[in-house]
């Protein structure tokens, strides 16, 4: 926390916008006009534009007790860029709107924007507009992200065909167990503020919940290898729920192998501490922001040695249903329970 506290009212609306955006530099050649006017202007050079938007509300989507504001700014951008990746698009621009109560100082907002700008820099995205207003209570964030694809190479959720392979990037379930750790530490802290949290050896899972990274690297790799997924989504609600979205939209079934689901060693360790099945964390945990996609079998050779992608099953006819084959060889129906799965 900063020692100085400048009230937002000291700067006023226009002063605050100027303060928050005066270091904003654009890097995209397509940015013709950025913040500071009624709207921004972008050029296209024969590309198609992909647009997504997300709202994040305090106490619903984030808890400032354990979410540093800088991480929150980073994450608000990252989750939107992840939606663009899920369309096979390359992120180029964002707009950022915030509603903030006077509980927050200018220094606190600077922290938040430091995270926003860090994400913009990491992913070479231009912040081109937004709105800054005072709220009665709490912190509200709304981000719109804009990306580009070569004409008609965008990928929806509805193109999966029987016999396609089901792939996922990175590993799953870590964000969920990371959140369990943070919630536990919050509880301990509220009961005894003198106890300092010891999360040093849990950096991976904590990082996964606080600082998710959109998989632009995977999108670039696929484009380089000239592989266009037949369907794609990002894993925000959990593998079950998101795979079922693809199956429903594509009118297909699936056969998923529990043994193939990629789970990080630290995720397993923490899951066992909490007495939860790591597979359940992957299936129902969500917030991993990995890419879940289907590819034609002909692309298997190109993909099989890439460490960032796991093949976890295959697409079936719709009348075969949506199935999970356990490590023990049993077959279960895949159900979309999301976070409900953890409710006793």
């Amino acid at each position: 926390m900063s020692e100085n506290r400048t009230e937002i009212s000291q700067l006023g609306e226009f002063g605050l916008i100027e303060h928050l955006t005066n270091t904003n530099e654009t890097v995209q050649a397509s940015t013709l006009l950025s913040v500071g006017d009624d709207a921004a202007v972008i050029d296209h050079f024969g590309k198609q534009t992909v647009i997504t938007t997300d709202m994040l509300l305090e106490e619903v989507h984030f808890d400032l007790t354990y979410t540093p504001l800088k991480h929150l700014g980073y994450k608000a951008v990252a989750v939107n860029l992840s939606d663009l990746c899920a369309m096979n698009a390359t992120p180029t621009h964002i707009t950022m709107s915030i509603g903030i109560s006077n509980r927050f100082s200018v220094e606190a907002l600077d922290e938040f924007y430091a995270g926003v700008y860090a994400a913009c820099e990491a992913y070479q995205v231009d912040l081109i507009g937004g709105d800054t207003c005072t709220s009665k209570k709490g912190f509200t964030i709304s981000v719109t992200a804009i990306g580009e694809v070569s004409p008609d190479t965008f990928v929806t959720r509805s193109g999966a065909h029987p016999n396609d392979l089901i792939c996922v990037s990175g590993d799953l379930g870590a964000a969920y167990v990371g959140l369990q750790l943070l919630e536990r530490e919050k509880k301990i802290f509220l009961e005894n503020p003198k106890i300092q949290p010891d999360l040093q050896n849990k950096k991976y899972v904590i990082g996964r919940i606080l600082k998710p990274e959109p998989r632009t690297d995977v999108i670039e790799w696929l484009q380089e290898k000239q592989i266009t997924p037949t369907a794609m989504i990002d894993v925000s609600d959990g593998l079950s729920s998101d795979l079922l979205h693809i199956c429903q939209k594509s009118q297909v079934g699936c056969h998923l192998y529990e043994a193939k689901i990629p789970i990080h060693e630290e995720t397993r360790e923490v899951a066992y501490q909490f007495n939860i099945d790591p597979t359940l964390c992957a299936l129902s945990g969500g917030e991993d922001y990995e890419l879940l996609f289907t590819i034609s079998q002909k692309d298997y050779d190109a993909i099989k040695d890439y460490s960032q992608i796991s093949v976890i099953g295959y697409v079936t006819d719709i009348d075969k249903g949506t199935k999970l084959e356990t490590k023990g060889g049993n077959m279960h129906d895949l159900i979309a329970q999301g976070w409900n799965a953890f409710r006793k």
Copy 2:
């Protein structure tokens, strides 16, 4: 108010989104993919894209005591389209995100979306995405609007030159007096709920605050006449404040004639009832969503007989300052006080 009340929880998140968007039809040829996936996709056909975003918070930007939800939905779209008009762009697409508490029923949201769709239809704009989430308290709205311009015909706030003419569309100050009426009726209602408001003969000013219309007609007219304003802004904060934005960004001064400011007869009438100077309502009231712009003198002949546009002054060198010439011939400095002007 509807007699039926369906709880939002009965539909669930995905059910609610489906419910709110299943009647959504797109009309823009550029809409390649609309709601229902991770993002939307739009094509460009050699145009440049203009993007703006606005957040509206309950109790800050609107009061549901006297704002019907349908009007609120319409207005949330309209004010964003107005920002596109202020860039000389034609609106084409919007995304709509809302955060809502369980105080609102599905029927209430239907009312809100009826207004959203009415605005989309009136202005031939496609709703292509959004986010729907539950808030702890209150109603939060965030809209992003997308429009198009022919390459390099967008108009910023910074292109005004000395001797340009200052023009404004429609009339000013009505929204402010309309709001005063609504606030008065709210107070009367809160003191005695049996008294029904009598606003029948004040339809114009009430309509101006509850249902603003972006001036796409003026933009089309200007394009038809091949007039490109040198600078433009929409009047959201009041004529003073918004003209000063143009002067500051363009590094010029201005000479404004009080006698030329267009004010509706009903606005004058209501202003006198409230014992406020109608000119002050126009200068500092805001929320009129008219277009304020500057044009080269050579365009005067084309514009002078168009009933929707008034020439209200001219641009001067920056060292002449920003001046208002009163009806009595006195000169005042134009100051940006916005709503502060009305504080006693």
